[in-house]
């Protein structure tokens, strides 16, 4: 797309958008969400938490319960059907038209807008080139691999230069290696086009890699909104912490500025608490000699993983932790080790 300036994204506001389906299922409690122009926002959560429903409300495929409002750039579009909203959408099943070739699929959005055949094919060809699938232009849809279909679906959604692109688990149907590759490609594309993107996934690695901000959802409500770093290192609650990667927790109490647990104690900020738990990520802890820190554990298992080792530790009260160690660290199962925690990277809840 060289002939026009990159499309700029729309700002999206959801206010009080809930959704109860006719059969009585409450898929979404009324929620508010502000998305700034050009931002990539990821909806993350377990199956059935309402991600797709939220996306479909933004798209206009589903209308929110009474009282809910969807605004694009401050304009109320709640009553507009999807075909009037100028959004691009990539479906989990791709929804490519089997009766059209690849290039006809990509040109379809321009066709319904009345763009002349020659021009729309030229523009579709440009998008195919941008996605590096121009050699597939004349193929039929059933002659494409999963990854190729995914690219065509994205190209088709982008060809109309939408102000918002909505992606519903676009990579879930693909194998792991291809997923990583396409994720990086999509990330680059979304940033280059400066388009507002809403990306649904239940894969935390995908969410952390792609999102400017992540919305973690649970049971039809928002559990936390924040940058990937916020979500990862400062999860709002247990649910977010355990959903976004492996989290260690130590149970204990805070007394006189120290967190005391079965494995020992360390200095923390904050008032005294009779019960507290301290949560941290495996890679934020550093192993040291048994007497070199206030916390002492026994090595229970060691898994060599190439670049790193993954170490399972046991505390005196039976609590278990997982931490990482350098590949060349010498660790013997049954030995005692100490653990140093970075105060900036654990949370006390």
């Amino acid at each position: 797309m060289t002939d026009t300036p990159a499309p700029t994204g729309a700002a999206i506001t959801l206010s009080g958008c809930g959704k109860t389906f006719p059969d009585g299922t409450c898929a979404l409690e009324p929620l508010d969400l502000q998305i700034t122009p050009g931002e990539t926002i990821v909806l993350l959560g377990p199956s059935g938490c309402g991600k797709t429903t939220t996306l479909r409300i933004i798209a206009g495929l589903e209308s929110p319960d009474a009282g809910g409002k969807v605004l694009f750039d401050g304009q109320d579009v709640t009553q507009l059907p999807i075909e009037k909203r100028n959004v691009g959408m990539v479906f989990q099943s791709y929804a490519l038209f089997p009766n059209m070739s690849v290039i006809e699929n990509v040109a379809y959005g321009l066709r319904v807008r009345g763009v002349a055949k020659k021009e729309r094919l030229a523009r579709a060809a440009e998008v195919l080139e941008m996605m590096r699938i121009d050699q597939l232009a004349e193929r039929r849809i059933d002659q494409l691999s999963g990854g190729q279909r995914q690219r065509v679906a994205l190209a088709r959604a982008l060809a109309v230069r939408p102000r918002v692109i909505l992606l519903d688990e676009p990579l879930t149907a693909l194998d792991a290696a291809l997923r990583d590759h396409l994720r990086a490609e999509i990330d680059g594309l979304l940033r280059r086009l400066a388009i507002t993107a809403i990306y649904v996934t239940h894969d935390q690695a995908e969410a952390l890699a792609l999102g400017d901000r992540i919305v973690v959802m649970r049971h039809g409500a928002i559990a936390q909104i924040g940058s990937p770093r916020d979500i990862y290192f400062r999860p709002a609650d247990d649910f977010v912490a355990s959903f976004v990667g492996v989290t260690n927790r130590l149970e204990g109490a805070v007394r006189g500025g120290r967190f005391e647990t079965a494995a020992g104690s360390i200095a923390v900020a904050g008032p005294d608490r009779a019960t507290a738990s301290l949560a941290f990520r495996p890679e934020t802890a550093v192993l040291c000699g048994a007497g070199d820190s206030g916390l002492r554990f026994r090595v229970e298992q060691v898994h060599f993983q190439g670049a790193r080792q993954r170490v399972q530790l046991g505390a005196a009260d039976g609590g278990r932790l997982v931490v990482e160690a350098a590949a060349d660290a010498v660790l013997v199962v049954g030995d005692d080790v100490g653990l140093v925690l970075d105060p900036a990277r654990f949370v006390l809840v």
């Binding site: 999807i82 075909e83 959408m89 929804a95 038209f97 089997p98 009766n99």
Partner: protein
């Protein structure tokens, strides 16, 4: 699995006997329409005279049947395709009910259906005397076949998601229907169309009740010729009927075969 030659020979024999049982009467009937005098048998020689006579006597009937079948096709397409689409989009209790109601005429004996039509609309003289009256009966009877055929293919291609895809690209409901739904439902529409034409051309029960001497159709004419003409003419009529219906049946077979082959792939 190794099949023993004896079992195979037995199976072949049974199949051939069954086929012969069905084919012999048909062949005899066709032959009767081509012999000069059936009672003297083939010795009397072969002729196309009877076929020509049938054409002379029943050409308008045959033509009427073809036009009727095409009109039935037109109406079932106009109603069946959009209705199948609407039902496929909103699968629920209501759409199942509609489907059941529309399918009812297949289960009800044609005679009862015809009687119902005569009781309800027979009083309107112009209508009762016209071919349109038979057309209504044929549409009632064939519509479920079109509807089911269309719905089956729409369910198989997940038409709702395809339509949402088209809508997200800005297509209006009409554009979606014409550019996405219909082209992708084509195999179902074609199969349904062949079915409708074949059923309409061969329909007797209903039509026999609904027709007037001036609105006979092919099968009704057949009955008429059996009742009132000499055997050779009646047989020649059967031959004409075969010539019209067999290509349609073969086409249906081929279509079905193609669909199955595609599914296997």
């Amino acid at each position: 699995m190794q099949r023993s030659p004896l079992v195979f020979a037995l199976q072949l024999l049974v199949t051939l006997l069954a086929a012969a049982f069905l084919v012999v009467p048909a062949a005899q009937s066709i032959l009767a329409g081509l012999t000069v005098n059936y009672f003297q048998g083939l010795r009397s020689g072969l002729t196309l005279d009877w076929v020509a006579q049938v054409w002379g006597l029943y050409a308008p009937t045959i033509l009427r049947s073809i036009l009727l079948a095409l009109a039935t096709l037109g109406v079932t397409l106009l109603i069946g395709v959009p209705a199948g689409w609407a039902l496929a989009r909103k699968p629920g209790r209501l759409s199942r009910l509609v489907e059941e109601v529309v399918t009812l005429p297949v289960a009800i004996p044609g005679l009862a259906l015809a009687l119902g039509l005569i009781l309800a609309y027979g009083g309107i003289r112009e209508f009762r005397a016209s071919v349109a009256f038979i057309l209504v009966g044929h549409v009632l009877y064939t519509l479920p076949f079109m509807l089911r055929s269309v719905m089956a293919v729409l369910a198989a291609i997940d038409v709702r998601t395809l339509e949402e895809g088209a809508a997200s690209l800005g297509a209006s409901p009409w554009q979606r229907f014409i550019q996405v739904v219909v082209p992708n439902a084509r195999p179902g529409i074609l199969a349904g169309s062949l079915m409708v034409v074949t059923l309409s051309i061969g329909e007797f029960n209903l039509t026999w009740m609904l027709h007037t001497p001036l609105t006979q159709t092919l099968p009704v004419g057949l009955a008429d010729s059996y009742a009132s003409m000499r055997l050779e003419i009646a047989s020649a009529y059967t031959l004409v009927f075969f010539l019209m219906i067999v290509p349609l049946l073969i086409a249906i077979q081929i279509m079905g075969g193609e669909k199955r082959a595609k599914k296997r792939k």
